[in-house]
Amino acid sequence: MIQVQDLRKSFGQTRAVDGITFAVSEGMIYGLLGPNGAGKTTTISCITGLLMPDGGRIVLDGCELASDPIRFKRSIGVVPQETALYPTLTAYENVAYFASLHGLSGADLRGRAGQILDRVGLSAGSKQQARTFSGGMKRRLNLAIGLMHRPRLLLLDEPTVGIDPQARINILDVVREIQREGTGILYTTHYLEEAETLCDRVGIMDHGRVLAEGTVSELRSMVGEGTVVALRGKFRAEALRASIASDPSIHLLSLEDDAAMLSVGGAARAVADLLSSLLRGGIEVEEISMREASLQNVFLKLTGRELRD
């Protein structure tokens, strides 16, 4: 469906997007995961034609954005991060206006508007002006506008930022529904659990680059197939490193004065072996906790810092 190849965009000396490549196919949710300022929104802006890339290609179903932007844009739907609505227009008027820019009109427009507003749970408020809506309702209307013209590819830029859990669940349900209908979705977020539960493939971005890309399980395997072990106690860095150096299934993820995080491949037995090694190395462990590896650990391993929600 869409291929983004070696996309580059700089603002002065700052490289906002630095040669990223990814592809989203039909019915796939592709997550771009990264902290604020990673380059996710700049990537979306380049794909929507709002920013002119410095280099690279963006191709959707054989149509290149640079050569035929109008045809390209007919196939994409955009749900921006901010609720881009007209407050004094009703919910129906908002969806109808943006859909009409995509060529919808008459009965098709009216039927589609009713269907979409119902899907996002706003059919009762279709005649209400958007300014009277709660934050969650505005977010849902924001999503509805992006879906109106049946886009082949939907670009969702942090669609759940700052909304209540119920509205968030509603939005994620709608995203899954349209995925089932075959729409490709490019989903940017800095919420780890959203990326883990929603996305088929995830690209982890930081400083304008995709540091790693793959399915969630592929990314998790980067930090070991098994368990993440968090230790708290009194230990020296050299001693800890020496203790685990002989076991290739153990990776040090992070290390501070009184805390360390390691990934341990294999089963519980491997964890027991780790503890034995540590004790033999004279390391005092006061607290130990274990959990399954997450994208947080992947991000930590790739960037050396945690991705905060």
Partner: protein
Amino acid sequence: MRTVLLSLRKDLLRWVRSPILPLVFLSFPIVFALLIGLAFGGGDEIAPIKLALVNEDDGVVSRLISSAFTSRRAPVAFQIQEADSAGGLRLVENDKVSAMLRVPAGFSDSLFSGGTSYLEVVKNPAEAVYPRIVEEYAGVLALLGTGASRILGDPLSGIQEQVESRAAPTDAFLSAVSVDIGRQARKAARYVFPPAIYLRSGETEGDDRSSSSPLKVALFVLPGMATFALLTLAIASMSDLRRERSAGTLARQLAGPVRPWNPVAAKIGVTLILGLMCIVILGILAAMWGDGKVSIAGFAVLSFAFALCATGFATLMQSLFESETAGSAFGSIVVMVMSLLGGSFIPLSVLPGFARRIAPFTLNYWANTGFHKLLFEKASPAELLPNVGILIGMGVLFVAVSLPLMRKRILRGA
């Protein structure tokens, strides 16, 4: 074109839903013009001019001059405060009177003896108009007094002596003086009062309103106020593009199959329509206030030309700066200056010479003079061509200059 029309319809709907701004700009010239009309068009009465009269002469002529200021038949009403010279000056210095008129001692005697006499006017520097009226009026009296003393010297001397004797005049004296004055006047009439120029005056039929009625004054002021308000409205309307940029709706439109100039064209169209709607409403009002005999075609063409010019100007103002605040603030300042120099606030005829020379460089000038020609000189469309041509030319030029800037500053990365 379809997307432009869709955007235009959307924006008009938004203005209808939130009409405060256009209503404010529409009501401003009406309210302001009416207020000025009520303030300055309420009839012929003006406040009496306060004058300190210092009469040190007490002769016949000085009494005549005093009575000329206090007479009900005087063309201007004066409120006289009699004083001595020092007291009169104090009244002037303390802003209690507009001027002091001093008739010096021996004024009448000097006049009758053929010498030179003086009337002294001391004007209050804190006032501009009233002291000038006193000065002019005293000048007229001096001229009349001079003529009377030259022609009626003998009879007036007789009257002077009679007054000074404080005895009741006899019938024989009165008849002799009357005959003498009549004879002197007839002798001088042929040379002094030749009827070379006749003044004919009258009033138009069927108009029972005074020429300075509040509505007439309001009508005079309305075009200037309207041009100011419409330029400001245009700036507010065009800044909506900036607001859409901040709200993200502009980016959302541009992310669709929309060409970059479409939203700009729609905003220009909306601004033009808003301006035209306001002008038409104000035009209907002007027709009601005036005699209604104006060229409809001329009004339509001039209105369109000015609305286009205002729209182009507002587009340029918004395209010059990065932020909406800067564009609107700078635009408002330029509108104020243009309105001041272009005759929107002060009639052009009252402006000083340098301002009148600058006035043609303002948009207001061409709009105001055009509407005045239309309303008060009943100009035909052909007579409005210079105004219309310049306004349309400026409007097109402004739009042409601002579109590339607009693309650079507003549309890029919206």
